[in-house]
Amino acid sequence: MGIDEGTILTCSEVVPAGPVVVSKNRQELAIGRSLARQINVEVLARADAAGLAKPSLKSETFGEV
């Protein structure tokens, strides 16, 4: 899927109690909650901090998938 350790992704949606949707280069991927829990992420920037329109958006770095 083009995702590996160190890949920079955007978290575009978190369905409550459901999957996390991440995107990169316009590609979107829904990852089930139980799998998403096992992925270590480092937040690089948050959309609200960056002054973007949608406060729920945040950018995160993925650890090993």
Binding site: G2, V15, R26, L29, G32
Partner: protein, 642 residues
């Protein structure tokens, strides 16, 4: 149409690509043969072969790699190993993902060309791709195309003759030197630890898979970064709609709105308005009287032959009326709706939205796709269960499809009967069938070892469905349904008439009385409907339309036949997918559950009617809810999940 590649000997040209990149559109454009095309991964589960001038073109199921992780990957790998030319179809919007497979194909050394599809969508979303640079980095020809419009196909035709092996990754180049005398492609698979290819050469599988994959992933990422340029932000309406559909605040209302539109279109417009014209006015009002009037001149309609041709199960009356007056418009309506859903890219978003709910029945959100497709054709849906990640999920999904999902043909009769009973019955029917699905799924989740695999689903771009593909797909599916159903309907009608004329039907009805009248509280004549249900559930359901029954009885018969064993075609697919032993267990369990639940429902309905006739349906719904809650509690007990 693309011209043939070579003159002289026939070449095998293979279309290879990730799921949902448009391979089947290429196949259709290049060979003129139509193959189902949709906007979700896993539409093509079989190989298709077509003539391309003097050569032949093979369409393959979408795969993410050629490493023999599943049956599809092994088969596509063998298709690549025996190909003269590979056309690697790459989705420009998912370039980085797709390049992993592309790099693997390049590493095999097979002569290839890259058809870069959907370049218009990429540009619409603010990105641009440098095809010349891509060609240079991979060492194979690259053609930018838009398959649905045919853009770039003339250039694809020109460049096909220039297909050539590409530049293998550095690591693969070094490692494959150790396998002198073995073709480069097969040496690669041996290195990657492919046991099947290794055994062909009597060698131990290699141990380099992880290293090769890591290097290939890195190479794919670097190539994507080098050729993709961001021109502007993605402000497309398709992206915005895509996000609204997975956000519960907007997605759940949108889902209900979609279901309501489907109900209005299929349940009201097609099932009542269109069928009112085709069945009542045309077939029963004009066609049947005409047939009877014409035959009356040449034979006695009360004679056995007259009964077979124009009686209760008349070959020329009932069978033809049901097929063309009722099934044709309704099945067409269902396939039309399904085609729109498939092509829009909405199904994977419903899967994302429903992931949590599906986990209660041991599945992840992706299983919603085969379950929804089952409402079109359970046979097709049973094949689509291959897209699910684990054997456990495939088992649960196939069982639920066999038990509780009525196909479009059966739904046509269900809609017609429920339409005459009223909306309260329609609601209770939907609620009961969904409860059975939820209850049985929950218990299977509890009883089968293991857990649901977490969702890992690629979300395709939302697209406005193309009317030409929608109509072509609807017509192809409806026509093939009629072609398959017509002889079975005629044969079934003939069998029923013969049983009736010879008096055997009375004997069967008497034999089945403990089940039909004793347990299900139905008239003895329903035995015929159940017999036909063994051949096709929809034909069995059609059978109950002609039997005089009160609304409760019709409802019970309808539910029992919905939960009945699937048609012969589906049964054969289940045997193929699950093996004959498990297939027999599934078939017998579904049969037992259908009669058990139908009978229990009958007892509850009549018990509730005894308490207060006006409250029969609400009390029944209450009882069903209670049982469902108990099943869910039993399913979650000590599960420690959720």
């Amino acid at each position: 149409m693309v011209n043939p590649v070579s003159i002289g000997e026939q070449k095998k040209i293979v279309l290879v690509g990730n799921p949902n990149v448009g391979k089947s559109v290429y196949f259709h454009r290049m060979t003129g043969q139509y193959v189902d095309v949709s906007n979700f991964p896993g539409t093509t589960m079989e190989f298709y072969c077509g003539k391309l001038g003097s050569d032949f073109l093979v369409d393959t199921p979408g795969v993410y790699g050629l490493s023999g992780h599943n049956e599809e990957e092994s088969l596509v790998r063998d298709a690549v190993l025996t190909a003269d030319i590979v056309i690697n179809v790459v989705d420009a919007v998912h370039l980085e993902r797709d390049l992993f497979l592309t790099c693997q194909l390049v590493d095999t050394g097979v002569p290839m060309i890259i058809a870069l599809n959907m370049v218009d969508e990429l540009e619409g979303r603010g990105l641009a791709v440098d095809t010349a640079r891509l060609e240079q980095l991979l060492g194979v020809p690259v053609v930018a195309t838009v398959a649905v419009t045919g853009h770039g196909f003339d250039r694809l035709s020109e460049k096909l003759a220039g297909a050539r092996p590409g530049q293998a990754g550095e690591l693969v180049g070094q490692l494959s030197a150790g396998y002198m005398g073995i073709p480069r492609s097969e040496a690669l698979f041996i290195l990657e630890g492919d046991s099947e290819v290794s055994s062909r050469y009597g060698l131990e599988p290699g141990l380099e898979r992880d290293n090769i994959y890591r290097a290939r992933r890195k190479r794919a990422g670097e190539i994507a970064a080098a050729v993709l340029k961001e021109k502007r932000k993605d402000l497309s309406m398709a992206s915005r709609i895509g996000h609204w559909l997975i956000n519960p605040l907007t997605g759940i209302p949108a889902l209900f709105l979609t279901l309501w539109v489907i109900y209005e279109l299929v349940g009201v417009f097609f099932a009542q308005t269109v069928v009112g014209v085709t069945e009542t006015t045309i077939m029963k009002g004009h066609y049947e009287p005409l047939v009877r009037a014409l035959l009356n001149h040449v034979l006695d309609l009360d004679s056995p032959l007259g009964f077979i041709l124009t009686g209760q199960f008349g070959l020329l009356t009932m069978a033809v009326t049901y097929l063309f007056g009722l099934l044709l418009p309704l099945v067409g309506g269902f396939f039309l709706v399904l085609s729109i859903l498939e092509d829009s890219g909405y199904l994977p978003r419903i899967a994302t939205l429903m992931d949590r709910v599906m986990s209660y029945i041991g599945l992840n959100g992706q299983a919603i796709i085969p379950l929804v497709l089952g409402f079109g054709c359970v046979t097709m849906a049973a094949i689509t269960t291959r897209m699910l990640a684990s054997d456990r999920e495939r088992r649960i999904a196939i069982f639920l499809l066999a038990l509780s999902v009525p196909c479009s043909a059966q739904l046509a009769f269900v809609a017609a009967i429920l339409g005459s009973l009223g909306p309260e019955y329609m609601f209770l029917y939907g609620f009961f069938i969904l409860s059975v699905m939820a209850g049985v799924g929950t218990l299977m989740d509890r009883l089968l070892p293991g857990y649901a695999q977490p969702l890992w689903l690629d979300l395709p771009t939302m697209r406005l469905p193309r009317p030409d593909n929608i109509l072509k797909k609807t017509w192809t599916r409806t026509f093939s349904f009629l072609k398959e159903a017509f002889p079975i309907f005629l044969g079934g009608a003939l069998l029923l008439s013969l049983l009736k004329v010879t008096g055997l039907m009375d004997a069967i009805e008497r034999m089945m009385q403990p089940l039909t009248t004793g347990w299900l509280y139905l008239p003895g004549e329903t035995a015929g409907a159940f017999i036909m249900g063994f051949i096709r559930r929809d034909f069995g359901t059609a059978g109950i339309m002609a039997i005089p029954m009160d609304p409760m009885q019709k409802f019970i018969a309808l539910v029992t036949l919905t939960l009945f064993v699937p048609c012969i075609a589906t049964t054969l697919v289940i045997f193929k997918e699950r093996g004959w032993r498990e297939g027999i267990v599934i078939w017998l369990t579904v049969l037992a559950l259908a009669f058990t639940m139908g009978g229990l429902l009958a007892h509850v309905i009549y018990y509730a009617q005894g308490i207060k006739p006006a409250m029969t349906l609400p009390l029944t719904a209450l009882f069903v809810t209670t049982v469902l809650v108990l099943a869910v509690i039993a399913g979650r007990w000590r599960r420690g999940v959720g």
